[in-house]
């Protein structure tokens, strides 16, 4: 059996505060920009951080597993205050 050739993947890690940890930046954006500009139907704004990674893996599952393992091993997020999710993008970096 031949090993699958490595494919290139783009994976995004999105980190934001847990609901219990206030996000003053998001609150300011909502209050002083979004609402003041008339978009009063927007009920919450949460800011966060994105890390976009390009990596090689033999499958989408492996790419995702590698990134999730790294996120936890290196504490890319602080589990006390943050939540994260990992999203696979296609080769052009789009969903």
């Amino acid at each position: 059996m031949r090993d699958k050739l490595p494919q290139k993947y783009t994976v995004e890690i999105i980190i934001e505060n847990k609901p219990a940890a206030r996000d003053p930046e998001g609150e300011t954006v909502m209050r002083d920009l979004v609402h003041k500009s008339g978009y009063t139907n927007i009920k919450s704004v949460r800011t966060g951080k994105i890390l976009r990674l390009n990596l090689e893996a033999s499958s989408e599952a492996e790419a995702k597993d590698t990134v999730i393992r790294m996120v936890n091993e290196l504490r890319i997020y602080n589990p006390v205050a943050h939540i994260y999710r990992v999203e696979i993008k296609d080769k052009r970096g789009e969903s």
Partner: protein, 239 residues
């Protein structure tokens, strides 16, 4: 100079309160103190200080990259052996990210970097850094940080209370932890905490900037008590 006591001050790329800390230890407290590059060995020190600054430019979040420096494994070993370890400001952020202290330090509530003098209340005098102070003692020290909002989940907060690990609170002139006296939105006005063994302590205010009366607008030198406590703790361990 008291050569029996030697304190190591760790320098990370981006530390900027390292020399102030060494100066206070040597010239104000009269003990021996050396700078240690974060890739070098920590040998022969009775106490360790992780100083303030912006290690690795606060990339990703303050303290996280320095938490993986080679020196941190040694700091962890020394902490387990009972050596007093202080983390001041960025040093506190490093101790949190290295897992030596629980919780998180988030960007300040007002999103601004805050540089001002604050009042602190000493909640416990049985730690390696507060043993010359009485419980309830009030200190004036400066803060200078952008990411100092202490946060913990309910489980951690309960443990901190049960184990008397909340050591410093931000308070007003009357010694009360009011909302107005809380500069950064820290949970329950927490300014500093210690570990279960009470030899590892982190705080956002800068004792090294408040250890001489000439440097304080209030003519206070409360920061000295922090380092005197540390020296006292080491001395008792040596004896």
């Amino acid at each position: 100079m008291n050569t029996e006591i030697k304190i190591g001050v760790v320098r990370f790329p981006g530390s900027n309160c390292d020399l102030d800390t060494v100066y206070v230890l040597r010239d104000v407290l009269g003990v021996s103190a050396d700078l240690v590059w974060h890739k070098d060995k920590l040998e022969g020190f009775g106490g360790i200080v992780l100083p303030g600054g912006f290690a690795y430019g606060d990339a990703l979040r303050a303290g996280i990259i320095a938490a993986y420096s080679p020196v941190i494994q040694e700091v962890k070993t020394l902490a387990r052996e009972g050596v007093p370890v202080a983390g001041i400001c960025n040093g506190f952020q490093v101790l949190i990210e290295a897992g030596l202290l629980p919780g998180a330090l988030l960007p300040n509530d007002g999103l601004k970097f805050i540089c001002k003098w604050v009042n602190l209340r000493v909640e416990h005098s049985d730690t390696a850094f507060t043993n010359v102070e009485k419980k309830g003692g009030l200190w004036k020290l400066p803060i200078a940080h952008g990411e100092g909002r202490y946060f913990a989940d309910k489980t951690i907060l309960k443990e901190l209370h049960e184990n008397n690990q909340i050591v410093f609170l931000y308070v007003n002139d009357e010694g009360e932890p009011t909302e107005d006296a809380n500069p950064n939105g820290s949970l329950e006005s927490i300014a500093g905490i210690c570990n279960l063994e009470r030899n590892v302590l982190g705080l956002m205010p800068h004792p090294e900037r408040g250890s001489e009366k000439t440097l304080s607008p209030y003519r206070t030198d409360h920061g000295k008590r922090f380092f005197q406590s540390m020296i006292e703790y080491i001395r008792k361990g040596v004896a």
